[in-house]
Symmetry: D2
Subunit: 275 residues, 4 copies
Amino acid sequence: MCRWIAYCGQDIPLENYVTMPQHSLAAQSLSALESTASTNGDGFGLGWYDRHPEPGLYHETRPAWSDENLRYLCRHLHSHLFFAHVRAATGTAVTRQNCHPFACGHWMFMHNGFVGSWNRLRRKVESLIPDALYPSRIGTTDSEAVFLAMMGAGLEVNPLGAAEATLRQICTWVNENGRGEKLRFTSALTDGRDLFAFRFAENDTANSLYYREEGGEVVVVSEPLDQTDTWIPVPANHVLVAKKGRSIEILPFLSAASHRSETERATQIRVVARH
Amino acid sequence: MCRWIAYCGQDIPLENYVTMPQHSLAAQSLSALESTASTNGDGFGLGWYDRHPEPGLYHETRPAWSDENLRYLCRHLHSHLFFAHVRAATGTAVTRQNCHPFACGHWMFMHNGFVGSWNRLRRKVESLIPDALYPSRIGTTDSEAVFLAMMGAGLEVNPLGAAEATLRQICTWVNENGRGEKLRFTSALTDGRDLFAFRFAENDTANSLYYREEGGEVVVVSEPLDQTDTWIPVPANHVLVAKKGRSIEILPFLSAASHRSETERATQIRVVARH
Amino acid sequence: MCRWIAYCGQDIPLENYVTMPQHSLAAQSLSALESTASTNGDGFGLGWYDRHPEPGLYHETRPAWSDENLRYLCRHLHSHLFFAHVRAATGTAVTRQNCHPFACGHWMFMHNGFVGSWNRLRRKVESLIPDALYPSRIGTTDSEAVFLAMMGAGLEVNPLGAAEATLRQICTWVNENGRGEKLRFTSALTDGRDLFAFRFAENDTANSLYYREEGGEVVVVSEPLDQTDTWIPVPANHVLVAKKGRSIEILPFLSAASHRSETERATQIRVVARH
Amino acid sequence: MCRWIAYCGQDIPLENYVTMPQHSLAAQSLSALESTASTNGDGFGLGWYDRHPEPGLYHETRPAWSDENLRYLCRHLHSHLFFAHVRAATGTAVTRQNCHPFACGHWMFMHNGFVGSWNRLRRKVESLIPDALYPSRIGTTDSEAVFLAMMGAGLEVNPLGAAEATLRQICTWVNENGRGEKLRFTSALTDGRDLFAFRFAENDTANSLYYREEGGEVVVVSEPLDQTDTWIPVPANHVLVAKKGRSIEILPFLSAASHRSETERATQIRVVARH
């Protein structure tokens, strides 16, 4: 299991969340509290937007806690929308190419979870990646394959629909593969403008996910960065949607409710204040 | 283009060929002479057999010339059959998983060359890898995919036949893909007992390959390790076969002659002395 | 704090202790039990003797738990005397040069502990390194400096005397530097023939150290590799001496008793059976 | 020998000089033209100023040509004053701590050259580093030691004076050490405001150094980034001084002329147009 944070709001230095808080993401790389793996030392990554439509990326195989470059970059890079991720590998190699976040055009994605029986399902999931995007498959993780499959399913046109269609297909395969198999999908996705954060699991407990909205800043995290009561859990099998200039929405994801029409779903929105 | 050496014979320290000669493989990593890329600094690897049927492997993304570990390992590791490879990447990432040699069970393979238009052909070549071996696809190179495809084509039963069948299929795809596309395949293959070294190219000049047989030792190299006249070029579109306890054979590979039966081919064998 | 193991005895593959036991050193890199740092992910190292008087060395900045090379090397390297070390850095950088074990000629050393106020004492300790050995100072750790200082104090002539003289000098400096400062020194030292393992601390609790002697094999470890009752603690402020072809001795180190003559000390030897 | 560039002027993305030009610094890492080492693959570094008085730093042991992070960082980092350096090691290890540029407080330094007989002179040069700055000695290069020695000699008060005093002392030691020994010092220094670029050698040919001043931008380079005639050589044994808001000055450095008073030197200034 990995740990991650996603931020959108004012232009700030990445250090505000990645390296400086008491229980910052860098601190979580050495001692996460709400994860099955307390050590997330199998590489890490940053992805951020500034003047370009495509995000900048920094991937490193060293643990985040001892990387001097990370301290400098988080101090000097400013962004209004960024992801940061520390990795605990679940079977695939520790390479930069397997570090999150992943980018494809102006889209960016990172993940905490896994596709059960990945070795057996890998080929099927990879078959969902369109030929045109297959050169973007530079690593071997389940996460990158799921992201490129979602790209192929139409993230550009309908992000939530593409995510649901892809995950539903993978769920089917996971379930066909054996009763004990599991799918965990706690992830963040953005086109450089809107932010989507998913918390989903099938046949299993969903990995933890929290958010905080304050003064126009939205922060979504695997576990709280401090001991204040400002962190609200994202309910399991829901997706947080933070569209630019609009309030946060928390929508059902891949649950019964999620089969309804967009119109119906709008009425299901749980506003932030209710949490 | 990469540089490599393959050795079989008495049990010797790897340093005899990898780090100590005047123009050792480590020296070639910084200044190769017969390669389009004089610098082969995109990682390197060692693979060696000793008491186990499976080879030991050492892969590193740093250039060979500055790796202190390499000096120690080549001094202290002894082997009767080993491969060493310095890499000049042709489009795929510099990761340990993309460093040669590759191993699968007791087989080992390394390569200098490329499959033209790899981005477009990758999926096709990967489709030749059997499901059971797909988890062994841990990198993204054309070389590893070709090796696993050859495994699937029956290396265990008929090494030369499996190699020819695989390469013939890939040649067809390369040619279909456009007139300018090329295939270069200068590679070494072993099951831990017999050594095969291929020098082949279609629509192009074959990458250089030399060998030396002396006192029961066979050394095959991308370029000579010294300026003596002991190095004999392997002819283009041929394969050197060094079976345990037998003389070296140089056989046609993927040429007209190679379409004949095994019996016929036996009569074609060019003995070492004739070169 | 770090974790380490030292072995002398029959020629065995390193994997027997480094990677295969239930609580192997590689396992301890991710979850040590008797250390203030449960994660020892700041690089690691191997040092081993075979046919050469000087040891082979392998240093890597990655965590031991995810290094594929380590698995292969421990399987294929055999030795009658080897050290292995996983590091939890205490202020100095994560570089290969700061990874243990350190070698100087045919001597080898590794350490778990620290010199309190290292930043202030570094120059003084470095001043103990003879000019001729100063080029061997390739890293910046306290451990390497202490080792080279001991070399300068005459390890070749009188290992225990040189170690005591060096540590006594450093203790004086540490104590001068302030009442709260501490020195911990749990280390292993060898000339390729005899093995010395120290457990010492001043103004502090000595880091854990255990050994096992069985069938001509001596294994010294920071913490037991399994839950059997075969592991005997080395008493604080003592040194284990395993001379080639002789029984283990446990001698006082830097305690009152240690000021006595060699002859007296011989009578102090606690035989293994008494522990 | 290494290659470097230093820039001051408008706020620009680092890629304008580090990765995009035809013969960019990244290109020089693989094939430098005016250097004894055509390959500068022993790590690299970036240092840049933005909103903080202290520079940001990025050091990496991989060759610049294959580092994906470098491409992203140079695209997304903007600065009005930055250094970039690709390294060809001359005897010291390839570690991040040995990669240039080096920073100390708000000062930054990088170097192309060497102190002859460094192994023998290292202790002497290190003795010039004040105790208070010795913890900043995190690597083992001659370059870092010379920089910290210059800091101790008073860079803050009189940059050129401190540089001259330090270099004069080192020259004396180099000359005492033997007739064949050499000192090459082609380096860049800044306090985040003013830029100094030195080209000096004793008993040897000075390493190449060029500059270009255009539209308020000053670029100083080891070798021209393109084949235009806009690049002017810095004369040997001179220093280029680019003070904020003033024209470039080219002053004698460590030559007879440099012994004169500051007032005299002012009259020696060669204005840019004369070159």
